[in-house]
Amino acid sequence: MIAGLVLAAVVQTTLANGLEVTIVPDPSMPVVATQVWYHVGSANETKDARGLAHLFEHLMFGATSSSPSGEYGKFVTSVGGEENAYTSPDETIYVSEVPPEAAERIVRLEADRMRNLVLDDASLDKEKKIVTEELRLRTENDPMSRLLVRAQRALLDDHPYAYDPSGSKADVARATVDRCRRFYDAYYHPNNAHLVVVGPVDATREMAAIEETFGKLPRGGETPGDVPPLDSWTFPKDLELKDDIPPVEVALVGAPLPPAGAADAAAVEVLISVLAGGSVDPLHESVVEKRRKAVEAGIETLSLRRGGGIIFYSASLPYRRKATAMRELDRAIGELDRMDWLTEASLASGKRRLAMDDARSQVYAADRAEEIGQARWWEGDSRLAFTRAARIESVTKDQVAAAWKTYVRDARKIRVYIKPERVPAYIRMFGWLYPLFS
């Protein structure tokens, strides 16, 4: 039996050089998660630095002035741990999970590569080839990814979120050692990072190791440029795309959501949980179950630091006209505007769903560390990770209704229609019969 535990004191501090540190000692966990959140992502890249945030995610596993290439990965493997890194539009995160005995060494390795990375032509050329293969795998050879990247570019125009966080092949080809060094010197500094450690650690010893290693690094670099919020961006009204997808036509109506740190962010979170968090989706009920106007329909959401999106979609066999599919979707969204889906009971369920997600993540060191890192960077304060449940609980029905009014009812909608390149003849000819037999 694993007993319930009261967490020992959480350490939250900022070193003299600006590094923010959060340590959550939890002796009930078997592994220590260490995450370094660099507050720079693809959205902060200037035009001549496109693709560098992601390229750096690779280069950071190379040699430093005091250790050979691969030292970090080899150490983590030798103790049975896992390590990885992620580049998003908003941040680049270096993560590891190791047994507690190995946690201090991880701190030393992370501090070392924050400022002592060796950048040379040989290692850059090799990583450029590897990243190009990654782009071919993830984007070029996957129809859905191809569509997403094209939609992102077309919808966001020159907004910093318009670019694929992984970069493009042309971006990668343009990278030089000089450009990489400029990027590293600009953003890989303690004052642009947040170190989060969660797991069975002695906070005093861990803090001493952090002071001894990260504490010696000088403050430096520059603050990445800010990203305009999505809810005040002007989007095109309409977009049509085609690719080699299964034989369905997809109609989407979307609206932007506010930044993660907005005053009504908790109300938006509850709105999404009530509307789209359960297994019975009200849009699906209207379009698919009640009127049988599509084979699938539902509500999805996207979230980034400076805003997100709520997307209402339907998928029909490719015989229906775009105008008809869009009209059906509009009608269903209009029905949602009657607010039948928002009752005291559904509000309570939506909140309970979020409470359960929160409770489940408490036992996984990496999930906990990610919540803390994200609360600091997306919402402005790592302490918000510890008070999320109370903020969610305090949201009222009126606040959820107000969020719907602001971000859906009154929002300027974006319409996207996606068609398959290939449609079997029998579906083209007889697809219209589908509602008669469904």
């Binding site: 039996m1 691969g70 293969e133 179950e289 489940r360």
Partner: protein, 416 residues
Amino acid sequence: MALPALLLAAAVATWGVDARTEGALVEDHRAPVITITVEFPVGSWSSWARKTHATDGFEFADTDPGRTLKKRADGLAAELSLDVGDRASSLTIRCLKDDLAAAVGLAKDVLTNAEYDVHALKRAGRERSILWRGNKTDVSFLMAQATARALFAPADPRRLPYERFEKVATDPKEIAAARDVLVRLPGRIVAFAGDLTLAEAKRAADGLLPAVGEAPPGVAPALSPISPPASRASRKDVPIRNLTQVYLSYGRDSLPWNDPKRPGFLVADHVLAGHFYSRLYVALRHEGGDTYGAGTTERGDVVPGSYAATTFTRADNAAAIEAKLAAAMTVFRERGITEDERTAAVAYLRGSRALSRQSAGQLLARYLSERRLGLPAGFLDDQIEQAAKVPLSDINAFIREFYDPAQFSMLRAVPQ
């Protein structure tokens, strides 16, 4: 490497719910969340289940016409899922501790629901058809399909996931009757993980399931022997439209998990492809940047499936990477691994156990896996201790035998 005492103490408690139904619990009081899993020993591999559509009856048991069952789950903020695996079918509900009684009541009603939504069943059939068409551009699917067709006889159920999906049955009476037989099969288990005591778990399990019945003929899967290497093509290309890369899979049949040589295999496979600086990663990624990924895949368990070394590269580099893959495999087979590599592999295997022991749900999932495969509890952990004891000479002898090129075939996904 020692694991924290808290986790070592988190054992699986078991009891008999009735004469042929087991109960199991992993307690974890750190968060007020409970997972209930009810598992039945029949899945898609059973010809009886496919013929009677019992698996359809199980998979869609929560789709009543008014969606009242799903709405009840939503009301509790519970996650309800019904899954049909190859050997077993399971219902899982995750809920907050306060909702345990209501969640158990919901599970009971789902497992006895006879009011299927015929429209939802028809729609599910159409979705399967659309998904099947989507597979025509899915590299992983098409490679797995070609591998399954090479290894397994046409009627072997291990080929099923890669062949055209069977139609969903739409007669509610027929599928409800078959589902009722499925949920009464002996060998079922009611399992809990999370914030409840043994007494609470026993109370919750009592009366959840209908009385146990007898297993009808044909319930057990009928698997054929693996096609011998001589009958498989030594090379095969799978053309796929719009590709700009070539994907390689150099494979053979896998070693069953209960084979006495399996502990040595665990060490060998880790050295070959189990980490970011493994033999294949170094040869194919780190030395020349030919690829983003290299590794091995295994689709098998106590019965053999497929095992392959895999990688990919841009189309015009295919021949070069294939030569490097072949060279790396040859050196691996002929020279074996070193004592340092063996020691590091054992350290990795031992240390990595902690990652799969972070929650009660993970511990219970491992127990259920072992039980489903007919392995004793703790077997998978014990394999790691057995692996630590295999001497280097035995591992290298195993490598020479298992990685014999005569046992392997080269499969490639290539641009059409």
